[in-house]
Symmetry: C2
Subunit: 161 residues, 2 copies
Amino acid sequence: MTALGFHSHDHAQCVSTTLAHAELYCAENKLKFTPIRRRSLEILLAEHRALGAYDLLAVLGKEGLGTAPPVAYRALDFLTSAGFAHKIEGLNAFIACAHLGADHAPAFLICTSCKSVAEAEADATEGQLGKVARAAGFTIRRTVIEALGICPKCQPEKPCA
Amino acid sequence: MTALGFHSHDHAQCVSTTLAHAELYCAENKLKFTPIRRRSLEILLAEHRALGAYDLLAVLGKEGLGTAPPVAYRALDFLTSAGFAHKIEGLNAFIACAHLGADHAPAFLICTSCKSVAEAEADATEGQLGKVARAAGFTIRRTVIEALGICPKCQPEKPCA
DNA sequence: TTGCTAAGTGTTATGGTATAACATATCAAC
DNA sequence: GTTGATATGTTATACCATAACACTTAGCAA
């Protein structure tokens, strides 16, 4: 279980391979990876940051792909349903999935200084939350696990670039 | 570590003792527990459910304590800062704290059927999230840990009253 | 081909959440 | 009683999200 997002990597490749996986996944599951949806995922992938729906919409608008809010929300609904993106509840914003394809319980480390977001796997049913839930007779359907704080690049010793 | 909220209890007493504790805490810390703030906490305490800011505002309004949104948000800011209430990010709603006074990292079990909310303690820095954060060199300042699911009363066998 | 159906898109309007900004009032400390 | 800090009143606005309906497109069946 590692947290992707705070270390450098070949970003162009990370984008293109993720898109390719999404393409494949849609083909296998008879999902329609339309231009708006594909482009929306590309836009999210372009950053390891969470984007608001209206941020996404602004980019789509510039490219002639739609200007009304439902355009963005529909694309985001599709991407989150397919597991290609997640919503960061603490920010009312969305981010491309870093572990594409798997049905998983994501956890996020969110830097409040530079706004970058790292995604980790956290099977909550095995952690403290799972223990509490079982003890209470509570059945977990979905978890929201987010840590707000300071990423390694933004630690006091080396301020964020 | 237990999850309060899904079992029955003496609610009137739970409200009054919590208010008394809040009163004491404010006196000790030179915080001003004004009528709006006190009444807002009472309103939240009256339910083991999360209330939206505008739900709270509606009640305050009926009682002549203010009708404009900032009234509710200021009261909620005070209550959350003092640790008397928490925001449930997944619901954009607020709930009275069940472990008043302690500076703690709350975790919530939220029933999507009857909307009741249980609060548990979850010191995230000791769990999986803490491990991931340390491995990534990330410093946690605040955590959002919420499980959406079905509470014991709402399990299929015994539908929610 | 035609026609049906399901899914996607375009658009308008509206609802729900949250805060900026500035005026006024209150209260404790000096 | 003046000052300064904090709280409140108020208006306006910004941001986040969805309802509802018209229209289009793709895939499939007769």
